[in-house]
Amino acid sequence: MTAGELAISAHGLTRRFGSFVAVDHITFDVGAGEVFGFLGANGAGKTTAIRMLIGLLAPSDGSATVAGFDVVTQRAQLRRRIGYMSQRFSLYGDLTVRENIELYGGIYGLSDADIDSRTSALLDSLGLARSAGDLVATLPLGWKQKLAFSVALLHEPAIVFLDEPTGGVDPITRRQFWELIYAAAARGTTVFVTTHYMDEAEYCDRICVLVDGTIAALGTPAALKAEHGVATVDELFVQLARGAKVTA
């Protein structure tokens, strides 16, 4: 992927489940190296949208390309060029730190030499060299998340998708996590992240707010705040979400 190429390009992306339209013709682009935030209430369609972008779910309508590959017809190639981390699943608790890294290295087809060198680099950068032999389950949540993020980047993907990666940790660890995100973006990795923390939305280059499956706002945090006359993204979100259909 060359600079200037779009990391993600979605046109009229739609997904229906029976008569329920979870994602309703969303169109947006994400540039290479951008930190792009995806916000929305539970049930607004965030998870469905991500699943389509990473090739787990076929769109009912519309199209999208990720890292230059079509999400429907080129899923295999797409999967090799992206990384994924979610709060629900990250690493295997009953394997050690090192074993997890080696596992994912192997899964993504890295050579043994590469795995070795990148493992050491990763452990050193996170300060986990001494804990390499510890079971992941024994690590505090914040460390697990940082490790999971680094592992998602092990195979140097063009884009990494993060689904609510910082749930439950203290403010300091969350900021450390975001510094890792910034470091990755500085290296040219595009970061697509969803979050419930509105202050983290402010850290993004651009954000997109989903309400009832459609895009209610798309742009830089500063521009959107000015446009809606609010001081924080939290207020922006509340304003937009209040307009949502009152469902249970």
């Binding site: 539970n42 403010p171 510094e179 419930h196 850290y203 979400a241 249970a248």
Partner: protein, 299 residues
């Protein structure tokens, strides 16, 4: 109180009190000991050392007296997914020997939003609605105290605000509420707030006073390249701490100098290091800044 699970000390010699009618907040990350604390207060777990009384009853000796007077919401959704809204409410009312009608007045503000969905199965509700139902079930038997363990985690921003609006109404009616939360903005809505980390309480105070505990001059730094700014500021010799904060960076200086002087110094320094567009302003510390400082020293 102290509580250990094997080699892990979940609670380490903590002491605090909550006054009647207070809305008391417990703020801390996962693993800080919040849930263990709630379990002790609801008499589900006994402390290894120390004691606790709830509504004047001892958690070790008077468990049945406490259990009939407490409204409890444990973390996560803890109602019956295959029962309807109405059925869940009726069940919890009956278990406490009362009826939904008796508790109707108390749950009214919350239940108003649930009423249209009274026959819907609980697992078909959205996250925000589920929490409102859980709150109603905790209230329906008219408890004297509410113990809510992270009731708004994983819930969207709008529902969170509505939930806390309900809590404010309940507090105004005189109900004592102890709530834990990871969200700083919610901490601000409490009467008093305790910061808990690693099983220890780092500080208890009124939210505004907590903010006041921040003991260094604080500045907000705005600029386009936040990551770059961060790294540059980290190299500044008089930096005490610097971290991301919403749409800016918060920088704390380790001197007690005049703010204006520091602003000028920083602006010059940043310009010299490739950030001519940076803007520095002196600000008052907020509760999150205090927490970060406290956590930093505790770590």
């Amino acid at each position: 109180m102290t509580k250990r699970y094997g080699a892990v000390t979940a609670l380490d010699d903590i002491s605090f009190d909550v006054k009647a009618g207070e809305l008391f907040g417990l703020v801390g990350p996962d693993g800080a000991g919040k849930s263990t604390l709630f379990r002790i207060l609801t008499t589900l777990v006994l402390p290894d050392a120390g004691s606790a009384t709830v509504l004047g009853f001892d958690v070790a000796k008077d468990l049945w007296q406490i259990r009939s007077r407490v409204g409890y919401m444990p973390g996560g959704f803890s109602l019956y997914p295959d029962l309807s809204v109405a059925e869940n409410l009726e069940f919890f009312a009956a278990v406490f020997g009362t009826t939904v009608d008796a508790g109707r007045e108390l749950i009214a503000p919350v239940y108003r939003q649930l009423e249209p969905f009274r026959d819907r199965r609980a697992d078909a509700l959205s996250g925000g609605m589920k929490q409102k139902l859980a709150l109603s079930c905790a209230l329906v038997h008219r408890p004297e105290i509410l113990l809510l363990d992270e009731p708004t985690t994983g819930v969207d921003a709008v529902s969170r605000r509505e939930f806390w609006d309900q809590l404010a109404v309940l507090r105004a009616a005189g109900l004592t509420i102890v709530v834990s939360t990871p969200y700083m903005d919610e901490a601000l809505r409490c009467d008093r707030v305790a910061l808990i980390l690693g099983g220890r309480i780092l500080g208890i105070d009124v939210p505004s006073a907590m903010a006041g505990r921040f003991d260094h001059p604080l500045f907000a730094v705005h600029g386009g390249d936040r990551y770059g700014l961060l790294q540059v500021l980290r190299r500044f010799p008089r930096m005490h701490s610097v971290y991301l904060f919403g749409d800016s960076l918060h920088y704390a200086d380790d001197r007690a100098s005049e703010p204006a002087a520091v602003v000028a110094e920083l602006t010059a320094y940043l310009a010299a290091n490739g950030h001519a567009d940076a803007r520095v302003e002196s600000i008052a510390a907020g509760i999150e800044d205090s927490f970060i400082a406290l956590m930093g020293t505790a770590a």
